[in-house]
């Protein structure tokens, strides 16, 4: 391998690519060549660094200088100042609210200080399109250890001891799942990877696939050895083109090194992996629906049992694990089950990756030890709520989860503690909401999603969720009636009890959790025809107070000319014609237009 005196890591994740990181790489390459540095400094396009908010991100090693929101024209300065003269460009170094003095290394940035990266350990560190870099970071060592020195039972035993639970949402113990499939007798078995990351607001699987695809391939091969399968399938969303491309490259490279294929490491174990693209159906995240989709059919779930460990893909015993679950496997094999079990809490071991989004300063990807309180994630790592607004709730678990109110912010992040408060771990989306978000509307939003994504096979989900949505739509439009809340509760209870699959059974959760913690908001909508958050358009009313000086700015801005008044006199809004666009309020320089 060639040696370089400095490495420039440019984030090539989806977030930073959208912010223009490809142009940065091109510019770096150009300038390094014209300055004669091409053999001294290497530019690497890595996976996601996590701090998408501040993208595009560039890190220069050996110093670990963390540059954020870098533009193509800034590259000249980084090359001439930092890389030629050794003087980091201070104006581009990332600062956060807690450390306004530009930290000299990323290890001192608060966003990273409280994190512990296991599943994401290689993301933003290696070039995901180069297998040699993965190997240099202990890649394929776990597979070698398993194939040359462990029995399948030994591997399953390690997985069970580690306490690893599924990271896709359900939290089923991974070792147990593998053991069931191992014990099923069949000539053909399959290992599947669920990369159909459908929860809105969750993008950790995407980042692992984009940043460290080999970790998933290696873990799938290990799983294959453990259960006795020689074929793997990855079901990945078509909406993730970068992830698909890197997976394909990784599979080709692994085949070329015979780390996939026949007689891996000279043993009699053979394993290969196929990719299947999803086609935009959320329900395909459900295991039986996913397998139906790989088989080329409509992605409809079926009743269980038989469980996939007995009868799965193409009628054969199958295990299905999520991307992040696999990303932990090699580390458990290399470092041992005890090491993994030493992280986290009693019943939730290891770490969990969360996609932090919504009304939060540092949106991005974070990995924390299980048991960390929500408060640490939102205020220390996430940097709190922007624009001085008040924190209202955090939504976890996507359409199957719930909203956790500010009063429960000290709850530790664990599978069981989250279920106890009416939400769930889910795949790891964490959407922060502030005082401007209406919780009834959020419930409506999720039901709208579920109705759209319901496959239609079972009536409780197909019809029940639609009835719930209709009631919620009425409420946010100011047409709610007494008894609506009780109707929602009855429907929720029945759907939970009778729907066929996980999608339907959990669909009422966003309504139940908001009813539990924000019932007063529902009541205000229904009884007072008022939206306390000032969000629901139909319930909004703009009025002009006596702060008005009669400057006419609002009247000019009004698209329907419903504001009248003489110059230098208080203006008035004709409520019957107002379309509640809010432009008058945006234009008023005197704070005279109020919303409520």
């Amino acid at each position: 391998m060639e040696l370089f005196r400095a490495h420039v890591l440019v984030c090539g994740g989806t977030g930073c690519t959208s912010s223009g990181s490809a142009a940065l790489i091109e510019r770096f390459d150009q300038l390094l060549a014209s300055n004669g540095l091409a053999r001294e400094v290497k530019v690497v396009r890595t996976g996601c660094f996590g701090l998408c908010e501040a993208g595009p991100i560039v890190i220069v090693y050996p110093e670990g200088t963390f540059y954020s929101r870098v533009k193509a024209e800034d590259v000249d300065e980084i090359v001439t100042e930092h890389l030629l003269k050794g003087r980091p460009v201070r104006r581009l170094i990332h600062t956060d609210t807690a450390s306004p003095a530009a930290p000299t290394s990323l290890n001192h940035i608060q966003f990273y200080e409280k994190q512990r990266r296991v599943a994401l350990r290689n993301c933003g560190v290696i070039d995901p399109e180069n297998i040699d870099e993965y190997i240099a970071f202990d890649g394929y060592q776990a597979l070698a250890k398993v194939l040359t020195g462990m029995t399948p039972e030994g591997v399953i035993d390690q997985m069970k001891k580690s306490g690893l639970r599924g990271r896709g949402g359900g939290g089923f113990p991974t070792g147990l799942k593998w053991e069931f499939a191992y014990k099923s007798k069949a000539n053909q078995k399959y290992v599947c990877c669920n990369a159909d990351e459908g929860d809105p607001g969750a993008f950790m699987d995407r980042s692992v696939l984009e940043g460290d695809p080999h970790a998933v391939l290696e873990a799938m091969a290990i799983a294959g050895y453990a259960i006795g399968a020689n074929e793997g399938w990855i079901y990945v969303r078509a909406e993730y083109p970068i992830a698909v491309k890197r997976l394909n490259i990784a599979i080709e490279q692994a085949r070329a090194y015979n780390l996939l294929g026949q007689n891996i490491f000279g043993t009699d174990f053979s394993f290969d992996i196929n990719i299947r693209l999803g086609a935009g159906a959320f329900v395909c995240g459900e295991e039986t629906a996913l397998m139906a989709s790989i088989e080329g059919r409509r992605g409809e779930p079926r009743p269980r049992p038989p469980f996939p460990a007995v009868k799965g893909l193409f009628e054969s015993p199958t295990i299905l694990n999520n991307v992040e679950t696999y990303a932990n496997v090699c580390q458990i094999i290399i470092n041992g089950a005890d090491w993994f079990a030493s992280m986290g809490s009693e019943r939730s071991k290891g770490t969990k990756v969360f996609a932090l989004g919504g009304k939060i300063n540092n949106t991005g990807l974070v990995e924390i030890e299980m048991g960390t309180p929500l408060r640490d994630i939102i205020f220390d790592i996430g940097g709190g709520i922007p624009n001085g607004k008040a924190f209202k709730a955090v939504q976890t678990g996507g359409p199957s989860g719930g909203c956790i109110p500010a009063s429960l912010i000290d709850t530790p992040i664990e599978y069981d503690s989250l279920i106890a408060i009416g939400s769930m771990m889910g795949s790891g989306g964490m959407i922060v909401m502030d005082e401007d978000n209406c919780m009834v509307d959020i419930a409506r939003f999720f039901l709208d999603f579920t109705v759209d994504e319901s496959c239609g096979k079972c009536p409780p989900c197909r019809i029940g969720t639609r009835r719930m949505l209709e009631i919620l739509e009425r409420i946010v439009e100011g047409k709610g009636e007494e008894g609506d809340i009780e109707k929602l509760e009855t429907l929720a209870k029945n759907i939970k009890a009778t729907a066929l699959c996980g999608l339907g059974q959990t669909a009422p959760n966003p309504v139940l959790s908001t009813l539990r913690y924000f019932r007063d908001e529902y009541e205000a909508h229904i009884r007072e025809k008022r939206c306390p958050a000032g969000h629901c358009q139909a319930l909004l009313r703009y009025t002009i107070t006596d702060k008005c000086v009669g400057c006419t700015a609002c009247a000019k801005a009004c698209p329907v000319q419903c504001i009248s008044g003489k110059v230098k006199q208080r203006h008035e809004i004709d409520q019957s014609r107002c379309i509640k666009c809010g432009q008058c309020q945006a234009k008023c320089r005197f704070g005279a237009v109020v919303r409520g």
């Binding site: 993208g55 809105p200 409509r298 919504g358 959407i431």
Partner: protein
């Protein structure tokens, strides 16, 4: 060649490509989805005659092809505009005001969500989470992702596509 002739020869060429895809995948387990995906890449959508060709080529009932094509939101049964706009309505984008952006898009294009503009230039879709929540609200036009959007930016972004053909 007249316009009709050009169209016909293009169509014949597309069907020839589809036939190649079908023969390369025939006999493969679960081939229907990938074939439909490739058909959509060739034609831009999967109209009835394409579905019939796939059913015959793969030797599966047409009802099954139609069933799969209508189940997944990725498959379009009608022709779409030159550029596909996908406004993300994932949770992160939604709480950061994606609906306002979508309303503005709809207003600027004079086109309802899920439909194509009269001049056939744009199809406006609301999509599921694009996984770029760090940049919320985001939209995709073809393969390009636009992040941290404000309603005011929309006309400028659309202008970039107005003079240009899809690649």
């Amino acid at each position: 060649m007249t316009d009709t002739e050009t169209r016909q020869s293009k169509r014949a060429e597309q069907f020839a490509r589809l036939a190649e895809v079908i023969s390369s995948r025939k006999g493969e387990r679960g081939a229907l989805m990938p074939v439909l995906q490739e058909a959509q890449a060739i034609f831009g959508y999967v109209p009835q005659d394409v579905q019939v060709a796939i059913a015959q080529g793969l030797d599966v009932p047409l009802t099954e092809v139609y069933g799969v094509a209508t189940f997944y939101s990725q498959f379009a049964l009608e022709a779409r505009g030159e550029h596909i706009i996908g406004m993300c309505l994932g949770t992160a984008c939604y709480v950061r005001g994606a609906q306002k952006i979508l309303d503005r898009l709809s207003q600027e294009l004079d086109c309802k969500v899920g439909h194509t503009t009269k001049d056939n230039r744009f199809t406006l879709n609301a999509t599921r989470c694009l996984g770029a929540c760090g940049l919320a609200p985001v939209m995709m036009i073809d393969d390009e992702v636009y992040g941290r959007l404000t309603p005011e930016e929309i006309p400028g972004i659309l202008d970039k596509y107005k003079g240009q053909k899809a690649s």
